[in-house]
């Protein structure tokens, strides 16, 4: 920070992430609108509160342990090494507070730590936190209208502050063991956020069961139309917008990608420190969105819900390789993913009676897995890292990675916890409340209050009449 150029680099990076965080917050506005729109009128407030409260709960737990897990668990631990020391990410560390980057006060830190993290720790933490909340929010839509809030928040914290953070440490960091050993490449988180959240949602849905009335006696599903289509559509548009911010937040804006032999070449990079450009990811984001929208419209014969969700799924499918794809590849990959997941969604729904209220398992889970696997085929042989000793991208490395994300860290932990909660009757709300609606007490109270106000107004009107008659 002692000359204009280095100060500009640090302050620009700080500002860059700050802007991305604000943009990404729109994802949550979008999720809330979307879920409230999809839920029935009798469950609106509960749906809103369930999704809103995951934000503070994941925020504090990500502060308590999530951020530290990301740095500490990159070797497994036990696969390529032990726990990494990461004092700057401990919740009690001075670098989590306002800091000028000078001499460390705590003995655990070095001068290098303070210089590197003083101005970037908070914005990196914030960006990751929003990723965490997104992971939790993806679960939220799938399980609406019948899960207990306390059970849902437990899953949200588990996925948002623990399991997805472990998969990010393994496969979404410059030196994670999956990058080193498998050549895992997932630049914009097809697997590390979407596949794991989809896998988690599927496990919870399996134990949670469908909403009452979802399936006819012959096993065919009944459609629960959104109570407000406009909310769902505006919500999805906002999710697209926030997702755009997410893409930028996955990059490092200025990094020397050729520090060898005294040369320098500054570029934007992915989280793996491999070069890309904001220009390329803008093209690919939009072209995969377009591919997904067109495929969604085509396969659903113009159904608005699947068309909009198809746009999102198109981006998710192409995200693993959108740092490197040609825009036409991103377009086709996005479209292909949507065609596959649409069929898969209905097959799983009918075969296993899974009631996924918003199609989250398909849009995030299946699209994420398909995207990671396709990246292995299309980017076969590319170096996964600037470190020449690390594995290259391969179809089998990506396939193993996708399975770890969807099943290993997504499906399995949530399956175990959901089965425990179900056993103790802590997973699903009581049947009478589901039938009456989760907002029925709020609505009754509102009706009582409204009636009381009307009665008071009537009395006031009668008094006024009497006064006028008397005068």
């Amino acid at each position: 920070m002692d000359n204009e150029l280095s100060a500009l680099n640090v302050l620009f990076t700080e500002f860059y992430y700050w802007v991305c965080i604000v943009l990404m917050f729109l994802i949550h506005v979008g999720f809330c609108l979307y879920e409230v729109g999809v839920s029935r009128r009798k469950n609106m407030m509960h749906t809103l509160m369930k999704n809103t409260m995951l934000i503070p709960l994941i925020t504090v737990t990500f502060y308590f342990f999530g951020w530290w897990i990301y740095f500490a668990f990159q070797n497994g631990p036990g696969i390529t090494g032990g726990l990494n020391p990461a004092p700057w990410a401990q919740p009690w560390n001075e670098l989590m507070g306002t800091h000028m980057g000078g001499r460390p006060h705590s003995g655990a830190l070095t001068a290098k730590d303070t210089a590197a993290w003083a101005r970037l720790n908070g914005v990196f933490w914030g960006a990751f936190l929003i990723f965490s909340c997104t992971a939790g929010s993806i679960l939220s839509g799938a399980v609406i209208e019948r899960i207990r809030s306390s059970a849902f928040w437990l899953f949200a914290v588990m996925v948002g502050s623990v399991t997805w953070v472990i998969d990010a440490a393994w496969g979404w960091s410059a030196d994670g063991w999956m990058v080193q050993k498998l050549g895992y490449h997932d630049a914009y988180a097809s697997g590390v956020i979407h596949a794991i959240s989809g896998g988690s949602a599927l496990a919870i849905l399996y134990h949670l069961g469908p909403r009452i009335g979802r399936f006819r006696p012959d096993g065919t599903p009944r459609n629960f139309p959104p109570h407000n289509t406009w909310l769902t559509i505006i919500g999805l548009f906002l999710i697209y917008t926030g997702f755009w911010g997410f893409y930028a937040a996955c990059n490092i804006p200025i990094f020397d990608v050729d520090p060898s032999a005294g040369r320098s070449f500054f570029s934007a990079t992915t989280i793996y420190l491999t070069p890309t450009t904001l220009s390329a990811i803008t093209l690919n984001f939009l072209m995969s969105l377009a591919g997904g929208l067109i495929a969604g419209y085509f396969v659903s014969k113009g159904d608005p819900y699947w068309t909009f969700s198809g746009g999102l799924a198109g981006i998710i499918t192409a995200s693993a390789g959108n740092d490197l794809y040609h825009p036409l590849q991103a377009h086709l990959i996005g479209a292909f993913g949507v065609l596959c997941l649409y069929k898969l969604h209905y097959w799983v729904e009918r075969r296993f009676k899974i009631d996924d209220a918003v199609g989250a398992v398909a849009v995030h889970g299946y699209a994420g897995v398909i995207g990671v696997v396709i990246a292995g085929l299309v980017l076969w042989g590319y170096p996964a890292s600037p470190n020449a000793n690390y594995a290259r991208i391969t179809p089998w490395g990506q396939l193993i990675g996708a399975l770890i994300m969807f099943f290993g860290l997504g499906f399995l932990p949530c399956f175990l916890v959901a089965s425990l909660l179900k056993r103790f009757r802590l997973l699903r709300i009581p049947e009478q409340i589901e039938l009456a609606g989760m907002d029925h007490r709020i609505r009754e109270m509102e009706a009582e209050e409204a009636n009381e106000i009307v009665r008071a107004e009537l009395k006031a009107a009668q008094r006024s009449d009497k006064r006028e008659t008397a005068s």
Partner: protein
């Protein structure tokens, strides 16, 4: 009395470390926040369970559930 380490803003900023007050008390602060989170979680679970029990009792009254479902249908 002073709560922080900052003596003067005119001092060389590159020498400055933490600017927040009560440096050195971070671990007790963390423990307080962590305990509050645990207590909140326990309270929320109990609160939800007792709410559900009350609602079930309420809905078990004669015709109450049917009337609520009919009212939902009218409001749909």
């Amino acid at each position: 009395m002073k709560t922080g380490l900052v003596e003067s803003w005119a001092k060389n900023p590159s020498e400055m470390g933490p600017l927040y007050p009560f440096v050195g008390l971070e671990v007790p602060l963390f423990l307080i926040c962590f305990i509050v989170w645990v207590l909140y979680t326990v309270w929320q679970m109990k609160f939800e369970l007792s709410n559900h029990a009350r609602e079930r009792e309420d809905l078990s009254q004669e015709d109450r559930l049917l009337k609520t479902i009919e009212s939902n249908l009218r409001n749909h």
